[in-house]
């Protein structure tokens, strides 16, 4: 069940990528090849756990699956490899060249309209977090409070 580790890797990378945006993530698109060794359903389940308390909490996970295909350089035949894969050419016995199937990629994220803080203080009017004395200093590049929780969450599966 390394899907939890995979989900955590996704969350860490996406958080790093969108940190400066200060927006929650509305949706996230992953591309997973048939031979990537990752089960989309297990990843979907793990994703909910891995995103808790992060900028990705509640984000929709969209998974594009990619079929595995190979080409024979000997006779030029191009076929799906099937599962379990047959990685040699049934026609001439030559090992195939793998064209697709090993993808395990974060394609894109869509950010929510509202800032991350506004989303956290749901019915308030966006008042800063507890102990917000520094709020007068203007917008802070690092979102207050969040990184700590983020760190904790990211380490859960490694325990």
């Amino acid at each position: 069940m390394h899907e939890l580790s995979i989900a955590v890797a996704v969350v860490e990378q996406v958080e790093e990528a969108v940190r400066e945006q200060d927006r929650a993530v509305a949706s996230l698109t992953l591309r997973i090849g048939e031979l990537a060794g990752v089960v989309p359903e297990a990843l979907d389940f793990s994703f909910g756990l891995a995103t808790e308390g992060t900028a990705l909490a509640g984000a929709r996970l969209l998974i594009e699956t990619v079929g595995a295909r190979g080409r024979c350089e000997g006779c030029g035949r191009e076929t799906p490899t099937g599962m379990p894969p047959v990685l040699w050419c049934a026609g001439c016995g030559t090992p195939l060249t793998l064209l697709s199937g090993r993808e395990l990629e974060i394609v894109r994220v869509t950010l929510a309209d509202e800032p991350l803080d506004a989303r956290k203080t749901v019915d308030g009017k966006g008042v800063g977090p507890p102990g917000g004395k520094g709020a007068d200093d203007g917008p802070r590049p690092a979102p207050s409070g969040l990184p700590v929780r983020d760190e904790e969450a990211s380490h859960v599966p490694h325990r």
Binding site: H2, Q13, E16, A36, L87, G101, V109, L111, H158
Partner: protein
């Protein structure tokens, strides 16, 4: 309006970067790492015990790291060979990652170590996805496990540079169908060399050590079909840059793929092609 950020980065980019760094660290020390993958109970430890003893007796400086969820039993067994051994306790995690291995090696890996055997967590699913900076990846299966192991676990056997059959001394007793096994191996990893071994009788141990030493000496290992697409991921994230991550400068807004001239984005996208 919602904003879209195109990332196009490998999910395991962080591990791949760590593996690349680890490969460099080992290379600088003249150490070659061998990653051993199998299911629990396939006889990895017994075979490795023989292998280490043979290496030590032959004057090859060899060391081993063994990973388990719990107990230091395997490290204790392997240490009987006389080689330096360290245990990694994964505390429940089902696989090793490059960063974990690197942390264990720093400050410990003895100077002049030529071969470093890494006995991964007994599991044929999860460890297959993680590059550990190894030069040689070996997938093992014992004759008692059933001939269809390679096709049941195509990623583990499909990414191996070498397949090793263990416990061959009891192959006849358990009715091991050798041809069916080899057929499965060929299906998921055509051309991969297969070695048959027995830790009990010592059969194949010298051949295995010789194979490992040849790879350590620079002989090119078998390149699996599955690894060829996978390699591109590695390269797209390891062009020798200090921090080749695509997420350093994300481009907000509805940018179309290919529109950005930025090197980071371009490089990251290279993995798609």
């Amino acid at each position: 309006m919602c904003r879209t950020v195109d990332l196009h980065q490998a999910v395991l980019a962080k591990n791949d970067e760590n593996a690349l760094a680890l490969r460099g660290y080992l290379g600088d020390r003249g150490t070659v790492a061998v990653n051993l993958l199998s299911s629990p109970g396939s006889g990895k430890t017994a075979l490795l015990e023989r292998l280490l003893a043979r290496a030590v007796a032959g004057g090859t400086p060899a060391a081993a790291v063994t990973a388990d969820l719990a107990t230091e039993n395997d490290a204790t067994r392997l240490a009987r060979s006389g080689a330096p051994v360290r245990q990694i306790l994964t505390d429940g995690l089902c696989h090793l990652e490059a960063g974990m291995l690197q942390r264990r090696l720093e400050g410990w890996l003895p100077e002049g170590t030529r071969l470093l055997f890494v006995e991964n967590v007994g599991n044929l699913v999860c460890p297959a996805s993680y590059d550990l900076g190894e030069t040689l990846r070996i997938a093992l299966a014992s004759v008692t496990e059933g001939e269809d192991k390679p096709v049941k676990y195509p990623t583990a056997f499909g990414l191996a540079h070498l397949v090793v059959v263990t416990k061959t001394d009891i192959a006849d007793a358990v009715g091991f169908d050798r041809e069916a096994f080899l057929g499965g191996v060929r299906q998921v990893n055509p051309g991969v060399p297969v070695l048959e071994t027995s830790a009990r009788t010592g059969q194949g141990v010298d051949a295995l050590l010789a194979h490992v030493l040849r790879c350590a000496a620079g002989e090119e290992a078998h390149v699996p079909v599955l690894a060829r697409q996978h390699e591109r991921y590695l390269h797209s994230h390891g062009n020798g840059h200090e921090h080749p991550r695509a997420d350093v400068h994300p481009h907000p807004g509805a940018r179309q793929a290919g529109a950005g001239p930025g090197g980071e984005q371009e490089r990251a996208r290279g993995q798609e092609r």
